[in-house]
Subunit: 189 residues, 4 copies
């Protein structure tokens, strides 16, 4: 039942955005009565939050293999592998992603997004800390913050805005940015 609601909600969100996604419409789309929504969710925003949260879980599963592989690679290759995987995952969910990023007021989904950001930050932080000696400077937090913001934003906008940039070029640039931000000098790319 939660399943049907979430699926229908995502569909409605994709089709029409947050404002047009009335609870009645989600219920109808789910083949469920409006009342039933409130047996599983306290209010409308909770449904959106659940949708966001599931999207994020999907991403996590989708990039898990890449993360495992990255763990046994050198930074440049590792970054490329991970970024490529994230990009693929985002492309897969472009429609819902657009609905969530561009059509839902950001506050509604901050909790959920904070969690992604936190996971991403952990990975980056750990990776940087491991190579602490080679960093441009010792402030790992600072570099982590910038990398997370940078990466997340560029990937999302690349998927949503489809700028006229080839995938490999885009990934190369992003990798270049990250590595140059983190490390003192050119790492073999």
């Amino acid at each position: 039942m939660v399943e049907r609601i979430v699926t229908a909600g995502a569909r409605v969100l994709e089709d029409s955005g947050y404002q047009e996604a009335s609870t009645n419409r989600i219920a109808r789309e789910a083949g469920v009565s409006p009342g039933s929504l409130y047996q599983y969710f306290p209010d409308k925003d909770a449904i959106v939050a659940e949708i966001t949260s599931r999207l994020i879980d999907d991403f996590a599963s989708a990039i898990a293999p890449a993360l495992r592989q990255a763990a046994i690679e050198q930074p440049p290759a590792a970054a490329l592998v991970v970024l490529g995987a994230v990009l693929d995952a985002l492309q897969q969910q472009a429609a819902l992603l657009r609905a969530l990023v561009d059509r839902v007021p950001a506050v509604e989904q901050q909790e959920a997004l904070q969690s992604v950001r936190a996971r991403l930050a952990d990975i980056v932080y750990h990776s940087l800390a491991t190579n602490r000696g080679a960093l441009r400077h010792a402030d790992v937090e600072r570099t982590t913050w910038t990398i997370v913001e940078l990466t997340q934003h560029l990937l999302v906008r690349y998927v949503l805005d489809s700028p006229p940039i080839a995938r490999e070029d885009f990934l190369a640039d992003t990798t270049h940015l990250i590595l140059h931000l983190a490390y003192d000098r050119d790492v073999a790319e």
Copy 2:
């Protein structure tokens, strides 16, 4: 009167975001009757658009001197000067900026934001084209896109999220990113 409406609208937006900003509330806050709103604006979104547009004009004025100075500097210093000015301008308007960026569905403000982005892109494009010979690669469009997205996002998030990063460090990192993305090798920073 337009003044009062826009001011009140901005205040309401800052306090409660787009969804809560009803026309009646804006009117009340402005000490004006609901009908008066519609003598000056065709609908609610036009009010929000005007607020956004004024914010953008403020930015433009605020950074104009920096842009003039940047025109007679070398890239690294130029970038620093401009970024610093933009950062100051954003700090000045942090409250309204937060309301607009985080609490208004992106679609509602796309026209206004596209215009800023376009102006920014022009400046960056021109600057890159001028130093075309020294670029990492010839695709100026591509570099422009990345720089614009990158810069805008990092600056806005720095202002809105206040990460524990010193202003000079943040500006240094951002400048570093931009220059390394654009130019083949280290420019004297």
Copy 3:
């Protein structure tokens, strides 16, 4: 519920006419919330349309027996029987009729009224065509149009304006008009 809304709507219409009949007022009069109106009707005009439509159905039922009887009578008696029945039916609903005819802009109810007129026209046409040989002239359409307009208007105004004319005299005059328009010479009245 539809019942309550329609009843209340008719009452409000009778009391105050179309312009004053706000949806909120109809809802209040029906002891129902404004929202409920829109579960059963797409908009305000649909309510008025339903009221009109029911009025018309009432008429249809009320005059059905007379029509059956008329089918087995000669023209003069047939006309008298039908007109008398219609007059009674109109008298029954005088209040609502007044509201609809005099206080609703004609355009709002044209669909509904066209349907009555069409039914009436069918009956008249058929009746004339049956006696085609005796007609003043062969243009049945033309006579039908005039009879329908004539009859409908006179009956409605008689009911709404209560001119100082006895019922039997009024019916006699109307019958006289119709028969003389249709047939070449005096039919035994």
Copy 4:
């Protein structure tokens, strides 16, 4: 000034009907300020009433010659002359007539219309009274009422609905109706 307002009001009424004819729009169309309307008319309905009233005066002037001529003719010819003149006058003002008859709730214009009806009734009454001896029955009031309603309605609908009936046929039928209603037997037509 009254002139401009009335002219503009008529234009707006013709174009869009009563509901859409806002005072602001009439003022704009008249090139006059909304405030000025209220120097000459107590409220919106007074403007509509004045428009109606002028339309009626126009009719009166337009048919005056026909009435004079009718005074020196025998009933059948007299009726034809008058009806023809009225029909012409209505055709001239068809657009405004439609706006007034079909799109203004009847109550708004009853005063004005009562006056026309009264004038018409006077003429008919006088004409019948003059030939009292030949009437089908002595109740002149009764016949007057029916003729007035009958004539007015048929002429207006003929103009507004353009039924597929030739002008001369329509006039012949209407004359036939009136004369047969009034007089005992066929008058030479």
